[in-house]
């Protein structure tokens, strides 16, 4: 049985199903209970499971992640929320210094299975600090898994996988996709494997690699060039651990790679993917690997945002450049 859902509803379903399956799953964060979350992802959960399992916390990100680490070390599975990407930064202290290394430093005696959900990305006409893409901070930290869906089906399956994972998972939710896409999603629980990319479109001449909202910009560009350039589009879905096999198999075939993301280009995920492609596919490359990413400047407020973020034009330009070699 299927239903047509947007990403918010798909995520909501995932949370509900997991909370039904396992009574130790606890949802917590600011405004997640009575208000159902500022984006309604946790809508209805407090009503169904009570205020002790869907908890409205005081305004304190540091305490929230710290307490969640404590919960996780003692048998509870916290699924906590950072209300906006700008407010996940105070959590870096606890994530880098603790959550990511508890299993490592206790030689396996303790672990920290928690899920931190963060809405990320731009194109939502929001104020400062609300549209950034912080994935690199988390991907760079060893001991954390980083996941980001680009559609409702993957969102539900990946969140369920994240909740069932034994290690800390940073679950990033692209704001601009929350309501923009409706898709058929099975009603029952199912998982999408963490660490596996997905080929969204097959092609033979150029590989577009992306994640989150930018996957759809890549698909649009590929569609526009249909008949002129054959583009393969890969949705990474998991940023860490990276599915380099999928990426490498594609580049072996096409010989041309372009990586697209909203985050700043310097030391971004694209830089890592590009380095791994060179390591694995040097002898297949027909053109230099390109990155279409944000500039190395602060993401501007809505008025100038459109010049900053990648878009179909910038992606198309990169494709044409790759084909010119």
């Amino acid at each position: 049985m299927m239903a047509v859902l947007d990403m918010v509803q798909a995520l909501n379903q995932a949370l509900k199903l997991e909370m039904q399956r396992d009574k130790n799953v606890v949802v917590l964060g600011e405004d997640v209970g009575a208000d159902g979350g500022v984006f309604r992802v946790t809508d209805g959960l407090q009503k169904e499971f009570g205020a002790l399992r869907c908890i409205d916390t005081p305004l304190a990100e540091s305490a929230l992640i710290g307490a969640s680490i404590g919960l996780a070390m003692n048998g509870i599975k916290p699924v906590l929320e950072a209300q906006f990407n700008g407010f996940s930064i105070p959590m870096l202290d606890q994530l880098v210094n603790h959550a990511s290394r508890i299993r490592w430093r206790t030689r396996g005696q303790r672990s920290c299975p928690l899920v931190l959900r963060i809405p990320v990305g731009g194109k939502i006409r929001a104020l400062e600090h609300h549209s950034d893409s912080p994935e690199t901070y988390f991907a760079h930290t060893p001991g954390l898994k980083v996941v980001i869906p680009s559609n409702p089906y993957d969102a539900k399956g990946l969140l369920i996988s994240a909740i069932r994972d034994s290690d800390p998972v940073i679950f990033l939710e692209p704001l601009s996709l929350y309501r923009a896409i409706k898709q058929e999603v099975p009603n029952k629980p199912y998982t999408v494997e963490i660490g596996k990319a997905s080929v969204m479109r097959e092609g033979s001449e150029v590989t577009l690699i992306s994640y989150g909202a930018m996957v759809h910009e890549c698909l649009k560009a590929a569609e526009m060039l249909d008949g002129k350039v054959s583009c393969e589009v890969i949705d990474l879905r998991t940023l860490k651990p990276l599915d380099i096999e999928a990426v490498s198999a594609s580049v072996e075939k096409t010989g041309r790679a372009i990586v697209v993301h909203e985050a700043q280009r310097y030391c971004g995920v694209a830089a890592e993917v590009a380095a791994q492609i060179v390591e694995n596919n040097f002898l297949n490359l027909k053109a230099p690997i390109q990155r279409v990413a944000g500039f190395d400047a602060v993401l501007p407020m809505p008025k100038l945002e459109k010049y900053y973020l990648p878009n179909v034009d910038k992606i198309t330009k990169a494709i044409n450049k790759a084909m010119s070699y």
């Binding site: 947007d6 500022v38 923009a180 058929e184 589009v233 027909k286």
Partner: protein
């Protein structure tokens, strides 16, 4: 532009209101912020101001009606503009997210259908540099079999595929325009017309090469060799050589003689290292052979002279002369000399003071063989003489050495037994 004004959010959680009174009517002129109607909520009577200045074009709801928040009340615009006959449907912006606006879609998104499964692809392994070379040379790399590690296509594979004198295409050439095309700028100087010729091509290279040797201290030692026997010997060998398609000149014998002489006097087979203040004695013998071409002086190098027969040497000399004239020598063939021989004899002339081929320390110039009366055993005989000029770098050698070297050369070229060694 027509503004459709909707009942705004009245706050306090109220979602609808009753129209108590329209303060304006269709056609009224209003200013931004003027009250245009009064509504009654559950609590109070609220005055609703106009959002824009303009003319009331059409009023959609009547006094006494209950209106929901977001429903269109009135159209305001410029005089004469047409308002829509019916009001647009109620629009309620979803209060979501606390910050920003989320886009919503009504359509169901289908994951894109995979394009036709891509056909089997040719897997060619090659570095980007090799791919670039292939493109430059017009080779379709996908058609090549690689001979490199793991079946990699190498640079040589690409070059071999071009079928033909690839090296010719690859040799770095200086552009040498024919003389007639040399651009000259007529000018006067104080005394009369002059013509300027810029340094180009081989001329430029030669000039620069000569300038490199500015630290050399050149001294030229001159002498003559009695080549009467050699001359006759060569006449006979020449006929034999023709049968083997080789044109035998005196040069192969001079090369062999120099080889032996250099082995005995290694300091003439050396290079001077200015910066290290050392001279490097070479333990191998590569002969630069100066060739005069229409474009200028080119010095290709013959290597491995010891192993080569007179025939081979003759053939090679011919080949490089031809290549030099056609400008098809590659860089490797122009490098590595340890001693240079230059022959002006073809044109005539006896002695000269050749310039050492930097960074070597010695060069031998051969003039034209000529008939001359010489005194032998008190009697005048007609002999064939070959003039030799040996320029050496005085920092490495002295005049006495040079004469010893010259003497050795002479002794070999006048030694019938030694000459006969080279019989084909």
């Amino acid at each position: 532009m027509v503004t459709e004004f909707r009942l705004p959010d009245l706050g306090e959680g109220l979602t609808e209101a009753e129209i108590v009174e329209w303060v304006v009517k269709e056609g009224s002129v209003v200013k931004e912020h003027d009250t245009i109607l009064k509504v009654e909520t559950a609590k109070a009577i609220v005055e609703v101001p106009s959002p824009v200045s303009g003319v009331i074009l059409k009023i959609y709801r009547k006094q006494g009606e209950t209106v929901k928040v977001g429903e269109v009340l009135v159209a305001i615009g410029k005089k004469g503009e047409k308002a829509p006959a019916a009001p647009a449907p109620q629009k309620v912006t979803e209060k979501l997210g606390v910050v920003g606006k989320l886009e919503t879609s009504a359509q169901v998104w289908q994951p894109p259908i995979a394009a036709k499964a891509s056909a089997a692809y040719t897997k060619v392994l090659a570095t980007p540099a090799v791919r670039s070379l292939a493109k430059k040379l017009g080779v379709n790399i996908e058609t090549l079999n690689g001979t490199g590690p793991s079946g990699r296509v190498t640079e040589d594979d690409v070059v071999a595929a071009t079928k033909g004198n690839v090296l010719a295409k690859e040799m770095p050439r200086e552009s040498t325009p024919p003389v007639s095309a040399v651009k000259s700028v007529r000018k006067y100087d104080f005394y009369g017309y002059i013509e300027r010729e810029p340094l180009k091509g081989i001329r430029k290279a030669t000039a620069e090469h000569m300038e490199l040797a500015h630290n050399t201290v050149p001294v030229t030692s001159m002498d003559e060799v009695d080549v009467t026997f050699l001359f006759e010997f060569r006449e006979k060998e020449k006929i034999k050589g023709q049968k083997k398609k080789a044109h035998i000149t005196f040069l192969p014998y001079i090369i062999k003689a120099c080889l032996d002489a250099l082995k005995e006097h290694p300091r003439f087979n050396a290079a001077f290292d200015d910066s290290a203040r050392e001279f490097i004695i070479k333990k191998y013998w590569n002969f630069g052979i100066a060739v005069d071409t229409p474009d200028g002086l080119i010095v290709p190098v013959i290597k491995g002279v010891e192993q080569k027969s007179i025939i081979n040497l003759a053939k090679e000399i011919e080949l490089i002369a031809d290549k030099a004239a056609k400008r098809t020598l590659d860089l490797a063939e122009l490098k590595g000399s340890t001693f240079t021989i230059t022959n002006i004899g073809v044109l005539g002339g006896k002695f000269a003071t050749p310039v050492v081929n930097y960074p070597d320390t010695a060069i031998l110039l051969t003039g034209r063989i000529y008939d001359a009366p010489v005194v032998r055993d008190g009697k005048i005989k007609l002999r064939k003489l070959l003039p030799l000029s040996l320029t050496f770098d005085h920092r490495v050698n002295d005049g006495a050495n040079a004469q010893r070297f010259m003497n050795k050369l002479k002794s070999l070229l006048e030694d019938e037994k030694w000459i006969k060694k080279w019989q084909i």
